[in-house]
Amino acid sequence: MTDTPVPHEVPADQVAEGPPIQLPPSISDVEPVLSVRTPIRLEYDFIPSAAAQQYLRAYASKRILGNRSPVDGAVFVPPRGVDPRNGVVADEMVDLVDTGHVGSFCITHLPIPGRKDLPVPYVSAWIHLDGADIGFLGLVAGCAAADVRIGMRVRAVWKPDAELGATAENVLHWEPTGQPDVPIDEAGNRAWALKQSAAGGGEDA
């Protein structure tokens, strides 16, 4: 340790601002430059991976695909072609249903500028599809925001068929099915933990 104070310990009234900047006389009356425009524009031709392309094409016909891990059979959605826990290729595609439950959720009261189609409050949620081992993000609607809860069973509300496409926007939102809730101890990532312990204590380091 030294006696030199670290910056955040210096009281604000002791922080020196330094001497005023003295410009050379030749430019002393020139208008100061306050900003610089840098016209560099970078463009990218982004091509989705094979897994993302399969997923998006299937999504356009109201199918939801996932990848199954070759290590322990865990199903990931959307598919990314790898099991990120094990760093191995996971290219087996699995068809998933469009029903599941809310694993966790968030109620937002601030509007997103430009999104007039999204009145506040709106509910974003981790949707845990039946048969998938991780959640993916979606909106929950069709009920009051205050009624959304962890474990609530939901189904996809798709766009009209004519508006479907290879985009992430085909599911307008997820609505309650009215079926009994998934018990909170088995909802969301808890389901994953239960499955791991049932399989024998989970991963070894």
């Binding site: 463009e43 990120p84 826990r85 191995v88």
Partner: protein, 351 residues
């Protein structure tokens, strides 16, 4: 200083990885380098990577690429927005501290989705140079012009560097530009791309990645029959502003070589990260390479230049030649920034 060695490596470079994500590129490469020495991620003490969000076109892209490592249970990990050679330097420091005995280093670059010449412009001074939007070839050509006008090298001399690279690259599966029949006259007859630089003076752009496994002391000896021991490694930097430097020189490269002990003994080979023939000439001079040192036996960065990985590839290429018994002492060099601004020199030896 703790003994640290390169014990394994994997390299993959192609012209363009069109349908392959960074993750899909790195899964087989990382597994190849680890399994070559019988390691899994659980055996790796520290993981460090190098890549650029400007190439990926998205922020924190390296976090996604960790999917390729298998980062569960959670790992000790770091990242540099630089060439993987500088990630290797960080891993080497970590190994010097002594808390870990093994490290996984990787880097990758996929510049084909964008314009590399323009991406590189954003590393220039943001107030006085970048607004002019000079592309990377033009900046390198300014340096090459100064070099030619200084009399330090002739146009024929630069063409000889290009020809040697193309000859050496024959048989290198990771080289894009290789030709046993390349000639000085042939190179000099090429149209200029950025006067005075011709196509063969400028590195062949590639997409790809590189992985290196480091290990310390007896752990390295147990993993590898002939580890490539890092006897010296140093990283120096020149001023960022192009106007304040003598662009025909690279004092930081010379100092890094001196601090890494490059000149203390004979060097069998040197793998130089020179993105143009003019820069390779400057490097060979500053590093004090003698006539008995084979320069770029792999073809060097001119044969295939994967942005963010070309420096790490140099270390891997040099280490392989030591481990195979083809060389006893080798120098590997990596650069970053415009006109050889930053330079790293790594000196390796066999036992």
């Amino acid at each position: 200083m703790r003994e640290v060695a390169v014990v394994s490596s994997a390299i993959y470079q192609v012209e363009a990885l069109t349908f392959t994500t960074d993750v899909q590129l790195m899964v087989p490469l990382i597994n190849e380098a680890r399994s070559a020495v019988g390691l899994t991620q659980a055996d790796i003490g520290f993981t460090c990577s190098g890549s650029s969000d400007f190439l990926a076109g998205q922020g924190f892209s390296f976090v996604q690429t960790l999917d390729a490592v298998g980062a569960f249970p959670p790992i000790s990990e770091s990242h540099v927005e630089m060439d993987g050679a500088f990630a290797l330097y960080e891993a080497w420091v970590k190994l010097q501290v002594g808390e870990v005995d093994t490290a996984l280093v990787y880097s990758y670059g996929k510049s084909s989705p964008g314009s590399r010449r323009d991406v590189l412009a954003v590393q220039l001074d943001p107030y006085t140079v970048a607004p002019l939007w000079p592309d990377a070839h033009a900046v390198a050509a300014l340096q090459a012009r100064l070099l030619l006008e200084s009399g330090a090298v002739s146009a024929e001399g630069l063409a000889e560097i290009a020809v040697r690279s193309q000859h050496h690259a024959v048989g290198n599966p990771n080289a894009l530009r290789a030709s046993a029949g390349a000639t000085v006259a042939g190179v000099l007859s090429e149209p200029v791309v950025a006067d005075p630089l011709r196509a063969s003076d400028i590195a062949a752009e590639s997409d790809g990645g590189c992985v290196v496994v480091l290990a310390a002391g007896d752990r390295a000896r147990s993993l590898c029959e002939r580890p490539a021991w890092i006897r010296g490694i140093d990283h120096r930097i020149d001023a960022h502003g192009l106007g304040v430097r003598d662009l025909t020189r690279s004092p930081s490269a010379a100092l890094a070589a001196q601090m890494a002990g490059a000149g203390q003994d004979r060097l069998d080979l040197a793998e130089l990260h020179g993105p143009t023939t003019s820069q390779e000439h400057i490097l060979a001079t500053e590093l004090g390479l003698g006539a008995d040192t084979v320069v770029n036996p792999s073809g060097g960065a001119l044969a295939a230049d994967t942005l963010m990985a070309a420096g790490l590839v140099r270390i891997a290429e040099a280490a392989r030649r030591i481990s195979s018994g083809g060389a006893d002492r080798a120098l590997a060099h990596a650069t970053s920034g415009p006109c050889l601004q930053q330079n790293l020199v790594c000196v390796m030896e066999g036992e």
